[in-house]
Every structure is written in C-alpha cells, then in structure tokens.
Symmetry: C2
Subunit: 528 residues, 2 copies
C-alpha cells in the first residue's frame, strides 16, 4: 500500500507556461535519464494479467522490455534530432525483411521477437516531434497509460452491466465537452473517428428533416442537398455515398483565398438547388480545415442554416481544441448555434488514435434515432445508462477513458496550456517563414498547421509547384523530418502540422533550414 | 542482444490437445507463480516511450505496477473461483465512490492512483472464465501484447506512407482469411466492428444492384428489400436506417425452432415483396446467431440469392472461427458462395475488442466504392497500398496486428486447437444439462453458446420464464458468475458463452450447480 501513499505532487509547477517555452537543457536532462534500464519481463506481465497457459511460463522472453527499449532509442534519437524516423522502403523491400505469411505451426519466441523488432524498426515513429505529416502524433503519456488500461479492462460500451464506471465516465465527459461547445449540457457519444462523427451528423440531419425516413427510406422523399466548403474532409463525400443521399447531394461551396467557405456565394447556390427541386437538409461549418487548419465564419453560417431550416453541423475535429483556450476560442464563435459537432482528441490533444466524439446540442436525439430492440442484450428495465442505444456501433471500445483520465491528470488548465503552447510554436514558425524572402506563407496560421512554399525568382508557378513537391519527396525519403504537401488556391504548399508543445526554437529553425538547404540543392542541380 | 538469443521454444508441446482438456493441477501451478512481484515503474515506461516533461520524472509512482497487481489479484481469485468478478453497484453508488467531475487544475498522482484503483475495482473482470455474459472476453496474452504495440506505434491505416509494415500485414491477413472462406484470394478490410461490417455489406449490395446510386442516391430507385432471419444481429436494423433504405426494407424471415432461417418460408416472402414493387438486393445467412450461436443453411441460401440475383452476405462474426477446424467447418458449408462475409476475432478467438474484418469475394469492389480524392493525403502516385481507399473510416487503428501476431505466435494450428477445445467444453457442458431432469437444453450447441432453462414440474411456461430471469438476476447480483438470458421460441433461456479453452470440468459443473442451488432457493422462498 506504500504505492498509494506516494505523496510527491507536481501540481503547482506543471502548468506555469511563463518563461518555459524553449528550454533545451530540460531535453538534455531527459536524455540522461532515458539511459536507465527497465527491469520488466513479459512473463510477469502476462502472468499478472491473465491466467496464461503453463507452457508460456516456462519461457523467459523479454518482449516488452525489448519493445520499450526500441521505442526509447527512437525517442532519444528524436531529441538529439539525428536519427531517421522512417526508412524509405518499398513493399518489396519489406517483404524481403519480414515473412508476412501465416504459418500452420506456431513459430518460436525468437522469431516473434525478430518480427516485433522489424515491425518497430520499419514503422514510422509518430511520437517524434518531427513527424509532422499527419494531424495526429506525439502521444501523451497519461493517455498511453489509459489506452493500456482500456485493453486490460477489455469491455464494450453498450451496457451499464458490462461497463458501469466507464459509462459514467463517458456521460461526464460528454457533459463536459458539450458545455465547452454550448455552455450547457448537451448529448453525444464517442465514435470510431471523425469520419463516423460527420456521417452521424448527416444521418441526424435526415432524421430531423424527414421524420419517417427511418422506416420509409430516402426514396420516399425528394433529393436533398448537404452543403460543405470545398475544403471539407473527404468523409462528407464517403458519407453522402454510404448514407444513400448520393454524392450529387453534396454541394461543395467554393472557399476564399484563406480557405474559408465563401459566405457571399452560399445563398445563391442554395437557392439554385432549391429551384432544382432539392431540399436543403444540412449546412456544415469547419473549425480547422484538414489542409490548412482554417476556420469558417461559424456565426454567419449559423444564420444561413437557420434561414433555410437546415441542420447545422460544425466539423471541429481538428479545431475543437481551441475551445480550451480563452485566447483561441474566438475562432469558433458561432459554434454554440450548431445542432451537432464532431470533435477529435487524437489530433491537437495528442491522445492515441482513435479518440473522437460526436456531440449534439439537444438531448435524446441519438437515442431516439438509434434505439433498437435486442432482448439478449438490452433488457426491459430502465436503460438510461445503456449507451449502446445511442451508438451506431455495437461493440465499442471505451476510448473516452484516454481523454477523461488525461483531463483529470492535467486538468482543463493543462489542456489550455497544451493548446496555447502549440499555438506559440506555430506563430513563431510562421514568423520565421514570413521573414524569409525565399518562402511564401499561405496565411497566418489559425491553428497548428502551417502551410508555405519555397520560391525562387527564376521560377513560374508551375515550376514552383514541382520544386515544392520535390522538396517534400527528398526530405521524406531521407526520413529525418516528415511533412506533407497539398494544394491551396491551385498551388502546391508544404504542409507542416506542429504537435509537440515542447518544440525548441532550434528544432523549428532546423526544419526550415533543412527545407531551404534542400531547395537550394535541387535548384543547383537543375541549373547545372 | 541476449534477449534475441533466447532459445527456449514451446512449439512442440503447445498444441497437443490429447489428454489435456481438464488439468486442474496446471491451474494451481499458475497460481503459485502469479504471486511473484513485478519490478516495473511507470516512470521508466514513460521515459522510455516518450520524451516526457521534466516534472514527471521527478515523480515516482508505480501506476502500472499497481494496475498489474490489481489485475493479478482478479485473475488469481478467478482461478480459485471464490471472488466476485463484478460488484453490484448502481450509478448512484459509483458517483459516491468516485469523483467523475473534470477539474480545472490537475490533480495529484495519488488521486490518479485512487481513480485507477476504483476503476479497476468496480469494473467487470472480462478476463475471468466465469464472465460468460458477452461474446467477448478472456483476452489472449499475445493479442494483449499486440494491442499495447498498436498504441505505441500509434498510426493510421490510410496510407502506406505512415503504416508501411502494418499495411502489408493487413493485406496478408485479409488474403489468409479470404482463403479460409473462399479457398482463394479475396479482398477486405478491418473495420471498427461487426456492425460496421454488416453495414458495408448492405452498402455493397446497393452498389452492386444500382450502379449509379453512388452519385444519384437511393431516391432515384424503387424501394429495396434486404432479407435476414429474425435472429439477425440488430446492426441490420441500424444499418437499414442509417444507410437510407428505411427499416421497412429489412424483411425478417422467421426462424425455426432451432433458430435457423426458415428456407421453406423464404421464397414466398421474396415473391410477395417483389409483387409489392420492391427490388430484392441482399440476402443474409448467419453463421452463429447472436442469441444461440446457431448456423443457417448457407448452401440453401446461396441458391436462393443466386436465383433472385441478390448480393449474398454471410454474417460470420461469431461463427467464422469454426473455419479453423476441420471438425467444425462443415457448419459453414455454402459460405464459399458469399459475396461478402463479416468475421470478428474479439469473439470466439479472444482478441481484445475490437478486432473485426469485412471480406469480399471479388477484388477491388471496396476500393471502387469508397475511393475519394484527397490530395493532402493520397497523392497521385500508385496507391495500391493505400488502404484508406477501401475503408469507410478515415483514421483507423491497425487492429489487424492483434490477429496477425497471434496467428504467427500460435499458428493456424493454435487457433484450431483453441476452437476445438472451446467446442469440447460446450459439448460437455450441454451434456451435463441434458442429463439433469430439472434443466432443458435449447439445442445441442453448434458453437460455444449454450442456451438452457431451469424448470420445475409445478411451473407453467410463464412462471418458468420468471424463474429463469430471477435466477440470472440473483447470480448476477452476487457477481461470482455472469451470464445472460434471452428469448428463444418465445421462452426465456439462460445464455452462457464459453470462451475459456482451459475450463475445468469442476468449473463447468460449479456453474450448473450454482444455477440449480439458486433455482431451488428461489422456489423454496416462493413456496413458503
């Protein structure tokens, strides 16, 4: 019981963000500590967690120790900034280094160790701060711990019977999140990801507009329209297809030069589709676009949704995190008018994939829409606490634990500090770009994605596109730093997602120097 | 490197199923070993896995050790068979024992420990062999390890770029599974669960029948019908609603006394719906029903699907595991005619939730149906290996690793032994029931669910129903053994899902004795 009496607290010093933005010496201290060994055996883990078979006890492999050492090596090299976070291997290369075939007889523990070694070695290190290719990464340790717990508890979120504590945790977290959005209790459910959340919004929009579509189906009604900007995530296209609306129903409104939906174009387009015999059922605002992290004018969209009596959905999968900060949340002004909101936590908040929520302003809508009769599972008694009744999924992993435990551990204040620290990095990073005559910033970043392109006086737009694609390819191949590129205003931009609140100035400068050096080298070869 | 040179192998002794069905003495040995301690610190884990903040290093909590000890206690008590695997707590009780509120400031490590302690203590122990309430449980240790790895690798299955090895692993596993179903390579994708798999089948059925529905939507076509038995999982209802067909499109065919779809009733019903102007698009066979684990006549259904040119889907979420055994796979005869198959591995195969696949006989269908343009993610180059193009989900956890690594570790032979051992337990269990004059077996179990009811000469059917509900409630409240009840042929049956291949005869007898004792006690109180 001495474990429980540990009294070291870290509460008061953790979240003082003053004067601690860039402290490389802390990094060095971490490094020194990382070299200690872990006295840990797979055998013990397994014995202590499961009643495993006798034979396994007779083995003595240190699988997990090996895995943890491997990750340790990756992370420590990360901090030094010298080692590759990916290897440039083709599928054919991989097939040579690993036997993917499934054997008839079991293989030896040694072979399992080799497989895990290869898997670790040849996977991309998404915990590396220089992994800036995706909107996820840099897992928070407390959330990692929660994820291990989820696997150990191995239960499903459909009934209170099998998930009593976790059900209350999900209810409490949904309540907390909906208060962040609406300032009062709403409703919602954790989903398998942002795509499913957006599709649930499309589904509720249909239910809202066509009450009997649940039984009658869509073919009893006129064709519909769902409005999104041309910057919307591809899940809206998949959803329009999957949910039977047809992709013709998805109307993409042009965005302006800052990747925001063109409010001035919207009403004319709506009117035109109405004249064509289609019924507008949903309007979407984006809080943090996928490509550039831009925020639509949610307030203006709310008015238009109201005017045409449409379901108003806000896709805040990426930008929802800004609600934690008083400095940032103004970008989401108008979200309080939304009927539903998608909000992911494996993006800016660095929970492990997937930790995602779908929230509704009004209570009971999800339950009303999804309730089914399943007498082997949901019995007749009061099932207020059976969350399966408001979810599309059947078996559902309690992903909420990652967010809730992290919120407990760090407090709202910790999440606020996390968001604000990331924003400081993005602002610093973009200011360096702005001051570099060879670089062109897409826009002052509104979140933690920075889009920019390298340019040379001698190159036209097309050549500049090619140059930037080439820059991305070269650096990607080398594997020290990973970012992506995308099209904005029909031009290629490099796209960097900053997810490490502990980035140092030196690290951020290093990224831009690497890009500049690479660009110059490409241009020199082209000239010669 | 000594870790890698460990040469202990367990290959040859692991899968000899002869003479090892019930060996209680092995259990005792396990117990003795379980009492050893784990020298493991959260601090080290976190340091070695992530570049965590300085402050965390100064703490010295043993969170994971605590967690593992807790689970250990649960498991060891499990084996002894004496301790509760759930506590009978109301939401109000839970709210008193745990502060669910999310704080503004971070809380202390001590408080975090207390939270985890409470969470572990008040959650249901699904790893306990007596957890027989659900179709999942008893996680396989190797799959648990793989799940921890998944969290550490934290990547998404949409592009080869960010998941090179895992992409090849998913491809190989899909190939392996489709060969089990069709005897040749098919196609498929891992999904968030069986519900989503069944919905994907409904979606492909639509695409197959109405080529332009992708763009035009369902309202350009006549109403459809989708046929399932009345034993089908509730996801078909949710799917008919979600996908816009309307629940009226879902036609439930009556099942016979053995919970199998009535082939003799099917064609008349199909003809009637055609006469009503509906177009039949899909017929579903069930390999392992949710309530009783019964298998439909998949061969007969295949002919009817063919006759009416319907998409033929087999829901093998539960029963697919039988394909691993030559002794059992005859129950799925006809599955080779299926256009698509749902198959879960977190059920009979005891992977952690969720590990689920959706398979198609023909290659390329999923990709054709789901491909979208997303230039920030999927670039123009050859994306044969970008699995996001055939998935409904965007970000997707590489759940496949659990199955693939377990298959490597245990071999196909290990999976075969697992299935056959479970079946032996189910057969033994049902034989004891059959020989008990106070018990009535629903049917000789075809999988690992055994349904039966306690009966007394003095009771009519209604009273017998009440008695069995009461038996379930009483035992459930006590928390030593958890199983469920369900309706079959309009009568209440107790429903026991056997998922521990190491069940002893004594344990199985104990379950039935507990039920009998409970029944007698209820009857005695009623009489007095």
């Amino acid at each position: 019981m001495c474990i429980l009496s540990t009294s070291t607290t870290v509460v008061n010093c953790k979240f003082s963000t003053k004067n601690r933005i860039f402290k490389p010496e802390l990094r060095q201290k971490k490094l020194n500590l990382i070299s200690s060994t872990i006295p840990f055996k797979l055998k013990n883990l397994l014995l202590h967690n499961f009643a495993v078979r006798q034979e396994l006890m007779d083995t003595n492999t240190d699988l997990l120790q090996y895995i943890f050492n491997q990750i340790s090596k990756k992370v420590s090299s990360t901090v030094e900034g010298h080692t590759s976070l990916r290897k440039n291997l083709t599928p054919e290369d991989l097939k040579e280094s690993l036997d993917f075939k499934i054997p008839y007889q079991s293989i030896s523990d040694n072979e399992i160790l080799n497989i895990i070694k290869t898997l670790m070695d040849q996977s991309v290190n998404t915990n590396h701060p220089y992994f800036m290719n995706q909107m996820f990464g840099k897992t928070q340790p407390i959330a990692y711990l929660a994820d291990v717990l989820i696997t150990l508890l191995n239960t499903s979120m459909y009934t209170y019977e099998v998930a009593p504590v976790l059900t209350l945790i999900e209810n409490e977290t949904i309540d907390f999140l909906s208060k962040k959005v609406w300032g009062r209790s709403g409703d919602g459910v954790f989903t398998s990801g942002g795509s499913m959340s957006n599709m649930k919004a499309m589904f509720l929009a249909r239910e809202y507009k066509f009450k009997d579509s649940r039984t009658l189906g869509l073919n009893a009604y006129p064709p519909v329209t769902i409005f999104v900007s041309d910057q919307a995530h591809y899940s809206f296209v998949k959803g329009a297809n999957f949910l039977g609306f047809g992709t013709d129903a998805l109307i993409k409104i042009p965005s302006d030069v800052n990747a925001k939906i063109r409010i001035d174009a919207l009403e004319d387009i709506i009117e035109k589709t109405i004249a064509d015999g289609r019924i507008p059922i949903m309007l979407t605002g984006i809080a943090g676009t996928t490509t550039s992290g831009s925020f639509d004018d949610l307030e203006a969209l709310a008015s238009i949704a109201k005017k045409y009596n449409m379901w108003y959905h806000v896709d805040a999968c990426f930008g929802g995190a800004s609600l934690f900060s008083d400095l940032e949340k103004h970008r989401l002004k108008g979200i309080e008018h939304a009927n539903s909101v998608s909000w992911n936590f494996h993006k800016v908040m660095s929970m492990p994939l997937s930790t995602a929520s779908f929230l509704t302003r009004d209570k009971g809508l999800l339950k009303e829409a999804f309730t089914v009769n399943a007498d082997y599972l949901f019995h007749d008694h009061d099932n207020t606490y059976d969350l399966g009744q408001k979810s599309l999924q059947g078996g559902r992993r309690p992903e909420v634990l990652k967010l809730w435990l992290s919120l407990k551990y760090k407090g709202e204040a910790g999440f606020k500090a996390h968001v604000e620290s990331l924003r400081q990095k993005a602002v610093y990073f973009s200011s360096v770009i702005e001051n570099n005559p060879h670089m062109e910033l897409f826009q002052t970043p509104e979140s933690v994605i920075v889009c920019f392109r390298y340019k040379a006086d001698s190159l036209d737009d097309k050549d500049t596109d090619d140059l930037n694609i080439k820059i991305r390819e070269e650096i990607f191949k080398k594997g020290d730093i990973i970012f992506n590129y995308a099209y904005l205003n029909n031009k290629v931009y490099l796209r960097v997602v900053l997810l490490d609140p502990d980035f140092t100035k030196a690290q951020l400068d290093h990224i831009l120097e690497t890009i500049e050096t690479c660009a110059k080298s490409i241009l020199m070869v082209a000239d010669s």
